[in-house]
């Protein structure tokens, strides 16, 4: 049974007892901005020196909030895996899950401790942001959620190639084409062109 007695009636003196609340610290607080915690997942920061434009952040983004934007003048060398693209975030879609941070191979992208952005309807485009090291308003609010050893999800081991069934393997080169990733195709253009022929079925021997 309950240890709270529903029949218990309050004392007539209760209103006087309630005066004690005047002596207590108020539970409400002012709305002044306060610094966010050290792990806070706020607006993005991106170190353009470290970023290689690999678009891993775009691939893992579960809300399709990231668009890779081409920036002329930045290093662009597909053989080395460096592209002149940088991620831009649509804050109308972003949910601040920070999976882009945990999967960034170079650790260039991180989240800041900045969390306030308001604008008028005319400035609605300001929700689409190309993050740089200083944050959305150019005022660095400090590093929030960044890559740590615990949360590092990058796995640079080569993934094993999927194997087709023998009857599929005997007829085409599909298995080789499927296991040949686009990055490798850029490095080995000749192999890529050979792989392109693989869609033509060959006669089983």
């Amino acid at each position: 049974m309950s240890d709270i007695d529903h029949k218990a009636r309050g004392s007539l003196l209760n209103p006087i007892k309630n005066w004690q609340f005047f002596g207590r610290k108020p539970v409400t607080e002012s709305l002044d901005p306060r610094p966010a915690s050290l792990n806070y997942r706020g607006f993005h920061l991106n170190d353009w020196e470290k970023c290689i434009g690999c678009s891993t952040c775009q691939k893992v983004c579960d809300n399709a909030a990231i668009t890779m934007v081409r920036i002329p003048g930045l290093p662009d060398d597909p053989v080395k895996g460096v592209r002149n693209e940088r991620p831009a975030i649509d804050y109308g879609r972003c949910c601040w899950c920070a999976l882009c941070v945990d999967l960034c191979p170079t650790g260039s992208i991180s989240l800041s401790r900045e969390y306030v952005h308001t604008c008028t309807e005319e400035e609605i485009g300001s929700y689409f942001v190309l993050p740089d090291p200083n944050g959305i308003h150019g005022e660095y609010y400090g590093l929030g959620w960044s890559k740590s050893e615990d949360a590092d999800l990058v796995d640079l081991e080569r993934q094993s190639m999927a194997e087709s069934a023998p009857e599929a393997r005997i007829g085409t080169f599909d298995e080789i084409v499927g296991g040949f990733d686009p990055q490798q195709a850029i490095v080995e253009p000749r192999a890529a062109s050979s792989a392109a022929c693989a869609t033509i079925p060959v006669r089983p021997t």
Binding site: M1, S2, I4, D5, H6, A8, R9, G10, N14, V27, T28, A36, S37, L38, N39, Y40, R41, T56, K59, V60, D62, N63, C95, W96, C97, A98, L99, D102, L103, L111, G144, W145, S148, D150, A151, L153, V154, D155, E157, Q159
Partner: protein, 320 residues
């Protein structure tokens, strides 16, 4: 969810229940671990319990504040919101997010506790415990509330079982069933806690069960705070590249006790990088649709709101 990578759904699942998002991510992560043959390290399991119990407390403070508001008493609601905010501060510090933690990942959790965090948890627990007598005075022994809530929206144990009622709503009918105790997951079998029940099965009993569970959650959090420093180790086991993670074919049904009731995930993998099927068995869809419909029939119009809130259903989870 079937159109997204396994890991991408982690950001989606907390949205299914806004006031109590932790069980969603834990249940989904444990399901993937089951299929993938992973086991979260012990420290991660204790951290998950800490997250789950803090989330339960936040949700209960929200729930009985909401119930009070439907009877015209707004102070308990404001107090509940203010006290819940202290728990959200803890979440902000631990997980980086106040409401949607996205703290779990298949194989463990994403962050260890920051320095001095456990002391701050203890002081928040002390504070909330000190507030309970205020809540009792303001709400639970307040005759206005007691007279409004007692005898309203009553369901008996047999009806509760027939209608698929779980969680505090079931325990308010006298049946002490709690997944944490009766089908333990994580490290709940190493933790001491009681399963509070009430007999009446009415709106007042349901809210009172939540009030008592708040005390049990404080008790569990205190045990986690005591044990956590002595549990070493990693907080996550290695997982394959999430972008090319083909989970082995298989299926699993994992269940946890959320603040609303029994929450379960049925997950099927066909060996691909995305789920073949994910079904969420949530408590709120049952409570807010067929149970509310049955209880509301014949009740007074002004009581419908409090019957609804006393069932503590979560609208995003009902909409499916």
């Amino acid at each position: 969810m079937e159109g997204r990578l396994w890991i991408q759904n982690l950001a989606l699942v907390p949205r299914i229940c806004v006031p109590d998002p932790a069980p969603m991510e834990v249940c989904y992560s444990v399901g993937i671990e089951d299929i993938g043959g992973l086991e979260a390290p012990e420290r991660a399991q204790w951290l998950r319990v800490l997250q789950l119990e803090l989330s339960r407390m936040a949700s209960h403070l929200f729930a009985f504040g909401g119930h009070a508001a439907t009877t015209g008493m707004y102070s308990p609601m404001f107090w509940g919101f203010a006290d819940r905010d202290l728990i959200l501060d803890l979440f902000e510090e631990l997980t980086g997010g106040r409401v949607y933690h996205i703290y779990n990942i298949p194989g463990g959790v994403r962050r260890d506790i920051p320095e001095g965090f456990l002391d701050r948890v203890t002081s928040v627990m002390d504070y909330i415990e000190s507030r309970l007598s205020d809540y009792d005075n303001l709400l639970f022994t307040n005759q206005v509330f007691v007279d409004r809530a007692r005898g309203v929206g009553t369901l008996n144990q047999q009806q509760a079982l027939e209608w698929g009622v779980t969680g505090p709503n079931l325990r308010a009918t006298g049946l002490a069933f709690d997944v944490r105790r009766d089908d333990p997951y994580l490290v709940y079998d190493q933790i001491e806690f009681d399963v509070p029940t009430e007999q009446a099965g009415d709106a007042w009993a349901r809210t009172l069960v939540r009030r008592k569970e708040l005390v049990e959650s404080i008790r569990i959090v205190r045990q986690v705070v005591e044990r956590l420093p002595s549990i070493p180790g990693p907080i996550r086991c290695p997982i394959p590249n999430p972008l090319a993670w083909n989970l082995p074919a298989g299926e699993t049904y994992t269940r946890v006790e959320s603040s609303k009731g029994e929450l379960a995930y049925y997950i099927v993998s066909n060996g691909g990088d995305k789920p073949y099927r994910v079904h969420v068995r949530g408590p709120s869809a049952t409570h807010a649709v067929q149970v509310l419909e049955n209880l509301a029939r014949g009740s007074r119009l002004e009581d419908v709101a409090q019957i609804m809130f006393s069932l503590d259903a979560c609208p995003p989870e009902v909409d499916r």
